[in-house]
Amino acid sequence: MKIIPHILVLNTSLLLSIATAQSEPVVVVVSATSSASKLDKEQVANLFLGKSSSYPDGSAAVPIEQTDATPAHDEFHKSITEKSASQLKSYWSKMIFSGKGTAPKEVASNAELLKLLASNPAMIGYIDKTAVDKSVKVILAP
C-alpha cells in the first residue's frame, strides 16, 4: 500500500509537467533580417489562414505551420486564429477542395522552424517563447 502515494506523486508531477508544456507561451517570429515589423493578431491570423499573403509594406509573406502534434500549434491557434485542430482541418479542406488555397508548409519542431526562417526572410512562424534566439525577431507576443 505504501507504493500508492509514490505513484500518485509521480503521476501528479507528470501531469503538471504536461500541463506546463502545453501552456508554454508562443511568440510569432520572422528572420532577424526580415523587413517585417510589428503585426497585430488579425494580421497574423489572416496570413496563417491564407486570407492575406503579404506584409503591410507589400512584401511577400510565407507562413510556416508547426504540425498539430506540437504543443505550440494548439497554443498558437487557440489565441490567434481561435480555431481548434478540427476546425482548422475543416477550414483548409474547404480551401484545398475549392481550389482557393493550400495549407502552409509544416515543420515538426521549434528548431526546424528556426532553421527555415534563417534561410528565407519572407517566412513567418511561431515558436515557444523560450526557444527565441538571435536569429529571429518577435513581431507578435500574444
Binding site: 497585430d40 488579425e42 494580421q43 491570423a45 489572416n46 486570407k51 492575406s52 499573403s53 503579404s54 511577400a60 498539430d68 481561435e82 481548434s84 485542430a85 478540427s86 476546425q87 482548422l88 482541418k89 475543416s90 477550414y91 479542406s93 474547404k94 484545398i96 477542395f97 475549392s98 481550389g99 482557393k100
Partner: protein, 386 residues
C-alpha cells in the same frame, strides 16, 4: 434484405482509416499531391405523405437531400447511396506559380459511376492574384465548391432549399484577388463560362424515365468575401442565358442528341451569406433571390444556430424555398421548408460522425407536394478527409 453495391464496400473499407495524410511526391522539380474525401451515409424516411411508389421509383414517403445529384431517401430499407461519395484530387505543381488540379467523384446516387468534375490549370499572376482556367464548380453558394466534402460543414447534407440547382459546374475562366483593408480581409472572385447538363439529375427526382437537358451559356458572375475576426460575409451575383429541352424518342439514350434547344431565357441569381463564430457559437445565414425573365422568381433562405462543446457541435437549421410564377392566377408555386437538427462529433481533426433529423413541410403548389409532401427523415454519416 439490404443490397450492398461494390462501391459501398469500398466506402466502408475506407471508413476503417482513422488517420490519413495527403500523398506527396516530387519529381524533376515538380510536386505531386494526392488528397481525397469520403462520406459514408445511411438514412431512412421515417414517416410522411404521400405514400406509395412514385414515378421516380422511390418508395415514398421520400425526401430530397441533394437536388443536384439526384439524392433521395425513401421509406424502404435503409438507404446507403444518396449521400455517400468518394472523391480523389490530384494536383501537380509545375512551379510555385503554375499548377494543374483534377478531381473525380464517385457518388452512391449515381451508382458509383466516377465522374471527372474538376480539371483546371491555375497560375499565380502575383502573390494576391490567381487566374484559373478549365472545369470547376460554379460558386453559387457559400458551400457550393465543397458540397461534396462533408467534413467542411456541420450537416449530413446541405439545406436542399438553397442548394438545389441543376447546373453545378462550368467550363471557363476565373480570376481571384485578395486584398487587406486594415484588419479586414477581402477576396473577389470573378468568372465567365458555359455549361451543358445532359440528362438533368433533378428531372429524375420527379420521373425516372424522363430526360431533359439544360444549358447555361454566357455565364458571368462574381463573389466577394469580406471577413474580420469571427465575422465573414459573402455577396454573389450571377447571370446566364438558360436553355432546356425535353428529350424523347431515339434521342433519349444518346449524349449526341441533336434535338433543338428551347428559347434562351435570362437567369439572374443574387446571394448573400454570413458565417459568424463568436467564441464557440456558429451562426450561419444564406439568402438567394433568383428572377427568371418573364416567368417567375424564387427566394431561398437558410438560418442555422450551433455551438461547439469541445468535439461536439449541435446545430439547428431552418430553410425555405418559395417560388412565385408571374402568370396571372398561377397556382403551382413550389414552396417548402425544412427544419433540421444535426449533431456532429469530431473523431479526429480529419474525420467526424454526424446524426441529423430533417422535418420537411410542403405548403405550396400542386405538382411538387404530390410527390414530396411532408416527411421526417433520419440520417447518419461518417466523413473523412485524407
Amino acid at each position: 434484405m439490404i443490397k450492398i453495391p461494390l462501391y459501398t464496400l469500398l466506402l466502408l473499407a475506407l471508413c476503417s482509416i482513422t488517420t490519413a495524410n495527403a500523398l506527396e511526391a516530387e519529381y524533376a522539380g515538380m510536386k505531386f499531391t494526392g488528397t481525397g474525401f469520403l462520406t459514408a451515409a445511411v438514412g431512412k424516411v421515417l414517416d410522411g405523405s404521400p405514400k406509395g411508389l412514385s414515378d421516380a421509383g422511390y418508395n415514398c414517403p421520400c425526401q430530397i437531400s441533394d437536388y443536384s445529384h439526384q439524392s433521395v431517401y425513401d421509406n424502404s430499407s435503409l438507404n446507403i447511396a444518396p449521400d455517400s461519395k468518394l472523391g480523389l484530387q490530384g494536383r501537380i505543381d509545375f512551379t510555385n506559380k503554375l499548377s494543374l488540379t483534377s478531381q473525380g467523384v464517385s457518388r452512391g446516387s449515381q451508382n458509383g459511376r466516377p465522374d471527372l468534375e474538376w480539371l483546371y490549370a491555375s497560375y499565380k499572376l502575383t502573390s494576391d492574384t490567381t487566374v484559373q482556367i478549365g472545369r470547376k464548380r460554379l460558386p453559387l453558394f457559400y458551400f457550393s465548391e465543397t458540397q461534396d466534402v462533408g467534413l467542411t460543414y456541420p450537416w449530413v447534407h446541405l439545406p436542399p432549399q438553397t442548394y438545389g440547382w441543376a447546373v453545378t459546374n462550368y467550363n471557363g475562366i476565373n480570376i481571384s484577388h485578395t486584398h487587406t483593408l486594415g484588419s479586414w480581409s477581402t477576396t473577389l472572385n470573378a468568372y465567365i463560362g458555359t455549361e451543358t447538363v445532359i440528362n438533368n439529375p433533378i428531372n429524375k427526382i420527379y420521373a425516372k424515365n424522363d430526360r431533359s437537358d439544360d444549358r447555361w451559356s454566357n455565364i458571368m458572375g462574381a463573389e466577394l468575401f469580406f471577413s474580420k475576426g469571427w465575422f465573414e460575409g459573402r455577396l454573389m451575383a450571377m447571370t446566364a442565358l438558360a436553355q432546356s429541352r425535353i428529350v424523347s424518342g431515339s434521342c433519349v439514350d444518346t449524349d449526341s442528341c441533336t434535338m433543338d434547344w428551347g428559347q434562351k431565357t435570362r437567369r439572374n441569381m443574387y446571394g448573400f451569406s454570413t458565417v459568424i463564430t463568436p467564441n464557440d457559437w456558429l451562426l450561419m445565414t444564406e439568402l438567394l433571390y433568383t428572377p427568371v425573365f418573364n416567368y417567375d422568381y424564387s427566394f431561398a433562405a437558410s438560418a442555422s444556430v450551433g455551438r461547439h462543446f469541445g468535439k461536439w457541435l449541435p446545430m439547428v437549421t431552418y430553410s425555405i424555398y418559395e417560388e412565385t410564377i408571374l402568370a396571372p392566377n398561377a397556382i403551382d408555386n413550389e414552396r417548402h421548408s425544412n427544419t433540421s437538427v444535426a449533431l456532429r462529433y469530431d473523431l479526429t481533426p480529419a474525420s467526424d460522425v454526424k446524426l441529423q433529423f430533417d422535418h420537411w413541410l410542403s405548403y405550396g403548389g400542386t405538382s411538387f407536394p404530390s410527390i414530396y409532401g411532408n416527411s421526417n427523415m433520419l440520417t447518419l454519416a461518417y466523413d473523412l478527409v485524407f
